[in-house]
Amino acid sequence: MLEVTKRSNRAAWLALLLAVGALAANFAFFVNPPWQDALPWLSLLLAIAALAGLGIGLRRALFQRKIYRGKVLSIVFAVLALMFAGGSLFVFYHARALPNWTAAPQVGQQAPDFTLADSNGKFVSLEDLFAPSPIDLSSPAPKAVLLIFYRGYW
């Protein structure tokens, strides 16, 4: 029988590399790049590519052992890739599981009035926010107010 050198299972370690990339894309939000709206899609793409890679890598490790070497290492890589890619897909899904916004006020519509307590417990209405600054009386009244609804628990 002819002795042949076995090939390296590149798919397995490439899958791990892609999965690490998918995970890293999720952490990139913390540096707040101007193209952050592309990050979820980059993470999704890398995670899917990692899953495809680990599928090929596992098949080679388990069923094509005559051609490829490094069975144990390939399986370790594939399991890690599965964890990282799976985690990225989980985060992708949950970060986007937001309720519909079509009933919210849209451009050109009236913003509902409100009165709520500020961080000192003082009640403030939407109307009050258009008053001139109490700190700098020389500054004119604001032309517009930016209203930010956020999730809280910071």
């Binding site: 979820p40 309720p99 500020d118 258009f130 930016l146 609804f149 956020y150």
Partner: protein
């Protein structure tokens, strides 16, 4: 200014920590969040009802001049988008 279900004390801590000078309002019962149709039922860390992220630019006539509704909790309106929207209001 910003609105969340956080109590005033939590907003005060946040302002102090982050150095925010703008008004932060507390809507613990999500009354105003509901009025704006932005309630995320069970969206809080322990299943509390919270606000889904959204930003509005409102003029003196209380008309919405610009709005942004996050599709991903991690992707919010950028400062340059908001400033450019604000510069359109006269």
């Amino acid at each position: 200014m910003a609105i969340s279900v956080d109590p005033p004390i939590a907003s005060r801590d946040l302002s102090k920590k982050a150095g925010y000078a703008f008004t932060i309002l507390s809507d613990p019962d999500a009354t105003v969040i509901r009025r704006y149709h932005l309630l995320h039922v069970g969206g809080g860390p322990d299943g509390q009802d919270i606000a889904r992220p959204a930003e509005f630019l409102i003029d003196r006539e209380k008309i919405v001049r610009w709005a942004n509704f996050a599709e991903d909790v991690r992707v919010r309106a950028r400062a340059d988008e908001m400033l450019s929207a604000a510069s359109q209001v006269h």
